[in-house]
């Protein structure tokens, strides 16, 4: 118990160190996350729109889940060496599958009668996508991003073994920072993951059209 309570004085005393490490930590986790969003959302949404590639989306997800990040980093050291790039590639591979598969599901699972009605009334494929599929899929797309966000921010901790910095430097260095430091770093990472997750939840609440927000409320009840 002393160790846990000791973590808080550690945070106060080492706030400078933790903030510096947090900066690195966010860089190595958010850049791969953004890359995964930029590639995964359009690809997933498009595959869902044409109702093709379920096999691809599912396979990528399963392979992604099965890959141990630690092993990935070790293997990547052989290819790209030590440093931030190594960690970011590994985290991208971790973040990509949930984003792709949620984006695919979000559009693929929309009631076919709705898209048939939309096409039947004379919407072009792009209009069906922008007016019907994307708004209705948005909550699920964001859910995929949130899953990946938590995953990358927490997993970025092990990036320290690739020498890329971040809060893992504190957590995996008990010799230097003591058990208090390890626990403090762990709590710090957990809070960071929750904050990033909530930031994307907020994005949905702010950015979603009124009708989509209503659906959210209706589903939550």
């Amino acid at each position: 118990m002393d160790v846990i309570f000791g973590a808080f004085p550690f945070m106060i005393e080492n706030v400078g160190l933790l903030l510096a490490k947090t900066g690195d930590h966010l860089i190595i986790s958010l850049i791969p996350l953004l890359a995964a969003i930029v590639i995964g959302v359009p690809v997933g949404v498009w595959l869902g729109h044409i109702h093709r590639g379920e096999f691809l989306a599912v396979s990528v997800t399963n392979i992604g889940r099965a890959l141990p990040s630690l092993a990935l980093i070790a293997i990547l050291i052989g290819f790209v060496g030590i440093g931030m790039l190594n960690a970011m590639i590994a985290l991208f591979l971790l973040a990509f599958p949930p984003i792709l598969s949620y984006a695919f599901q979000s559009v693929d699972s929309i009631d076919r009668d709705l898209t048939r009605a939309a096409r039947g009334m004379g919407m072009s494929p792009v209009q069906v996508l922008l007016k019907v599929e994307l708004p209705l899929g948005l909550p699920m797309i964001i859910a995929g991003i949130r899953t990946s966000a938590v995953l990358t921010v927490s997993s970025a901790t092990i990036a320290t073994i690739a020498g890329s910095g971040g809060l893992g430097d504190v957590i995996l260095n008990q010799v230097a920072y003591g058990m208090e430091g390890v626990v403090a770093g762990a709590i710090w990472v957990a809070v960071l993951a929750i904050l990033v997750d909530q930031a994307f939840a907020l994005l949905l609440r702010v950015a979603a059209p009124a009708g989509v927000k209503r659906l959210q409320v209706a589903n939550a009840v």
Binding site: R116, A117, A118, M121, Q127, P135, L136
Partner: protein, 345 residues
Amino acid sequence: MTQHSTGTSITFDQATKTYLGAAAPALDALDLEVEAGELVCLVGPSGGGKTTALQLVNRLVDLTSGDIRIGDRSITDQSAIELRRTIGYAIQQSGLFPHYTVADNIATVPAILGWEKKRIRARTAELLELVGLSPVDTWLPRYPAQLSGGQQQRVGIARALAADPPVMLMDEPFGALDPITRVAVQDEFLAIHRAVGKTTLFVTHDIDEAIKMADRIAILKPGGKLAQFGTPAEVLSNPADDFVGEFLGAERGLKRLALTTVGEVVSDSHDRAGAEAETADARTTTAGWPDVEATMTLREALSVVSAARAEGAIVHAGDSRLGEVSLRDLIAPPAAGEDREGVRA
């Protein structure tokens, strides 16, 4: 209603659809002419190709061979997207967009067509009135989830009518409604159809719905072949083959009685009663006969007479007594149902 386009004919010319990889056509050389302003029901068992026939018209499904014309113009003369914007389309479960308000749902096609906001607002309000959702302002901001099934279906019809298309396609639009709501929405749609005169192709698996709604019924049988095309009275009186007879069911004779109202046969019985009185034949005693309204169908009146264990009924129109009908008049009406307008009026 403000001005609206009158309907345009729909002509199926050897229209055939064979789906990719299917051995037999889903719709086999359909020849069918739906006249301008007419309401034609496509009925048949699943596998009869009725939904395929409907979706061929707005090119959600592409023809394998043959042609379909709206007015004089082949549906392949313009892009599928342009074509669809000139055709009203309503489907089962209404197909309303759950993230759109009632107003936005109805405005879907006008918005795509780039109408001015003011014109869209006026049209939306007009349509809501037409489908019986008033006061308009209370319905416009609602979302589909806040409406009952019947209300959603009404909005679905309003949406299909929004850009005033000359042709309407309806794919089992009332299939998901409970029986009471369905009757109400059917009646309203018939009234709207009379008012706006859109040529309407209406798919249903419910033969009773077809008998009630249609000017003419097209019965499709498995393999996508047209078994019979005619008015409800013609089809019920003279089924073209065993398939149609079986499809219409054992109560076909009773269904036919539903095409005629008591009001249409009462005058006939009057004349006959007069003639029979002169021959001093035994006068029918009308004691104990139940009262029926002239607007009732023969089928309904027969039910009343049967329940009363009587030999006939006294016919009223409001407070005035029109005459009486005997059991014989009810079950063997002269030229039953030849005049469809009589039933509707």
